[in-house]
């Protein structure tokens, strides 16, 4: 059983037009599909294949992940904050699951 937990670090507030750094981490095994178990059978691939970040519905970053991304994928990037609003983070799993997190930011 996978214990998937997204974690996101976003500043609570910023000035309008500021560029802020966002750090995201999601606990996930990122099974590459190249490893073998003790009996020599290939362990099937199971990874997060896509990550997106949106602010008030507009795209900040859209990342395609391959099996070469480490366990517990960590992504750090920067975003512009034109106004107060909400960041929406979405991770897409190979098994069809979608994990989401949101963070509000105030401008002032």
């Amino acid at each position: 059983m996978k214990n998937v937990r997204p974690r996101v670090k976003v500043p609570k507030s910023a000035s309008a037009g500021d560029v802020i750094t966002i750090k995201t981490l999601i606990s996930h095994p990122m099974e590459s599909g190249t490893r073998k178990d003790k009996e020599g059978n290939v362990i099937p691939r199971e990874i997060i294949n896509r990550f997106t970040c949106e602010f008030n519905g507009e795209s900040v970053i859209d990342v395609t992940l391959e099996p070469a991304i480490s366990t517990n994928p960590y992504i750090e990037f920067e975003a512009k904050v034109p106004e107060a609003g909400e960041f929406k983070f979405t991770w897409y799993d190979d098994d069809g699951s979608v994990y989401e997190d949101t963070q509000k930011i105030t401008v002032g």
Partner: protein, 139 residues
């Protein structure tokens, strides 16, 4: 049929060529992956920074960072991995900069290549050699 000296030499050369095959095959796989991203366009240099450690003790988590001001997309490839593609970052209108960091797996000592697609449709690439002490792809 008797084996002449020439035949024996030819056989030996063939054997050497066969054992050397896997290396170019790997390089081809990453070239193919890069060509898929660029559409075969030629690549310039400059304007793209790829930050990777010189020596990675653990190939399971190698921190890398790419930065290409103004780029629309940046793709990262690991030339010595079973599958060369690592990640593709597409920057949206609200991206604060065209910079991203992540952690990747490297199977062996190899070149990591980043390719950035600029808004005018040109491509630039940056390369960094990472020495890996313990490989990170299992198997």
């Amino acid at each position: 049929m008797t084996m002449t000296r020439r035949d024996a030499l030819a056989l030996a050369m063939g054997g050497v060529a066969a054992t050397m095959l896997p290396l170019p095959a790997l390089a081809d796989a990453s070239a193919d992956a890069i060509a898929k991203f660029t559409g075969g366009a030629s690549m310039g240099e400059g304007g793209l920074t790829l930050t990777a450690p010189e020596i990675a003790e653990n190939g399971n988590t190698v921190p890398i960072s790419v930065d290409a001001p103004g780029a629309a997309e940046i793709a990262v490839f690991a030339t010595g991995n079973p599958t060369p593609a690592v990640a593709t970052f597409k920057f949206g209108p609200l991206a604060g900069s065209q910079m991203a960091s992540t952690r990747i797996r490297l199977q062996q000592t190899q070149d990591v290549i980043a390719v950035a697609k600029m808004p005018d449709g040109t491509f630039v690439q940056a390369k960094s050699t990472v020495k890996v002490t313990i490989g990170g792809c299992g198997g």
